[in-house]
Amino acid sequence: MFFSLSLLRLFRSWNKYIFMRRLLFSLLLLGMFTSPSQAQQVEQVTIGVNGLHCSACSFTVEKSLMKVDFVSVVMMDLNDRIARVILNDAEETDFHKLAKAVTDAGYSVRDVVVTLGGQSKEDQSCLTIDNNNFCLIDLKSDSNEFRLIDKDFMPKKEFKKMQDIPAACSSCGTDKNRYIAQWF
């Protein structure tokens, strides 16, 4: 809409200099207003929960996850022992808080898988979404999901086997809010 109005004004202009300036300005506006729709965003976080053994326990995990300030919706699947979490549009998203909510309820995190929405991903090893930097390994071009790698996001035994991975990610953003992730 905004782009169309800008073009209309361009055609009405008879000054070439002004025309060029407005053309450049409109292209800039085009870039500004089209890039958000292509940006990748977190569509869903799926948390595998170990130790769940009853619907009452599942209910407890759901209640604990709903207390996290950036969580909008939690859907528990007790048969597969997973929690599907939809995030709200809060500026700060800390995935460690999701893991802590599960352990606070008395259970363990099996894995945390982030599903991306928006345009399909580009081939890149570094991704910034909502102030979080994701250092991505094991690139798979047909995937829009990656799992987070950290002691908080998987059983300790499994994390110990992956100790050398974080070293390869030092060039991906700053240490703050940086997650190591593996395409899933």
Binding site: N50, H53, C54, F59, T60, N79, G106, S108, R110
Partner: protein, 318 residues
């Protein structure tokens, strides 16, 4: 005879039909799992048995709280008509041998009617120190400590019991394993009861209860639903819990003179009870359970059989 038939059938049932998700929310024994952090739970409990012509009841309210994900505490006030506030007059008898008088404990008359009185405030703390969670199983271990204070009743058997009869303290370890629909848990612990003192009609009595070790084994099995589709699905669970205790003989003094322990209820003992339980969990939170207990090896002098227990528990989420 009935137990001899039903027990093997029940164990075969739970061992060969393991499929999906198991249960460890035992009505009698505590599992190693803990209350979620910052969650308050409430449980109402009653315990009933018929002692000759008298119905003995105990009522308790348990307020539990998850201080941390691994540390659970509770406070539990209790009321019962189990005992009087003084030891029974017929607890001590005497005989004369020559010029001397020998005092000895005698079997008291059972079935006396007592008023309902406050029987103590029980505190319990449990710390889960080992957690090995897998997708469809887990193994957890916890240590617990417990104490009872403000007891007002004169417990007249050697067997110590902190949830309703004695003041004192105890502790132990819990190991719980869960695999799909089946859960098993072992609890081993000890109880050290405080001595009971009374001064009645110019006579001073002191009763020192036996120290006890406890050994409990619980089995749980989820029978319904086969597959969850909603939180509104009721869960129905079956439980078999073995509750065992070995304890030493009591020591009794009247005006600082030792009383010979003759009666069986004040002697040392060991027994094993079996509790059959059924539990229904509604809306994934309201937990209602019924258990009935029978003796397997020897008998407890603390209660008659069958012992019927009812419980209702709920977590109060913020």
């Amino acid at each position: 005879m009935v137990l001899n038939r039903t027990l093997p059938v029940f164990f075969l049932f739970i061992c060969f039909s393991i499929q999906s998700i198991g249960q460890e929310l035992f009505p009698i024994n505590e599992p190693a799992s803990t209350v979620p952090k910052n969650v308050l739970g409430i449980k109402f409990m009653s315990e009933t048995n018929r002692e000759l012509e008298t119905i003995r009841n105990q009522f308790a309210v348990r307020l539990m709280y998850g201080l941390t994900p691994k540390l659970t505490v509770w406070a539990q006030p209790m009321v019962s008509n189990h005992h009087d506030q003084f030891l029974p007059n017929d607890l001590i008898d005497h005989r004369h041998i020559g010029a001397s008088t020998v005092f000895y404990s005698s079997t008291i008359q059972y079935g006396r009617k007592y008023n309902y009185t406050f029987s103590g405030l029980h505190f319990y703390g449990k710390y889960r120190f080992l957690t090995q969670d897998e997708n469809d199983s887990h193994f957890r271990m916890a240590a617990y400590a417990e104490t009872t204070i403000f007891g007002t009743q004169a417990h007249d058997e050697s067997e110590p019991h902190l949830q309703g009869d004695n003041e004192g303290f105890g502790g132990g370890l819990i190991a719980t394993y869960l695999k799909k629909r089946f859960a098993v848990s072992f609890t081993g612990g000890f109880i050290k009861a405080n001595d009971y003192h009374q001064n009645k009609q110019g006579l001073r009595h002191q009763l020192k209860y036996g120290q006890a070790i406890t050994y409990n084994l619980s089995f749980g099995y989820l029978i319904y639903p086969k597959k969850y589709t909603s939180y509104n699905h009721s869960n129905i669970n079956l439980y078999v819990e073995l509750v065992g205790k070995s304890y030493g003989a009591a020591q009794l003094w009247e005006d600082d003179q030792a009383v010979e322990i003759v009666s069986e209820s004040l002697g040392q003992g060991a027994y094993l009870d079996v509790f059959f339980g059924i539990q229904r969990i509604m809306n994934s939170n309201d937990r209602v359970e019924l258990t009935v207990a029978f003796p397997v090896i020897n008998k407890s002098y603390r209660h008659f059989y069958p012992l019927l227990s009812l419980g209702w528990q709920k977590y109060l989420f913020k």
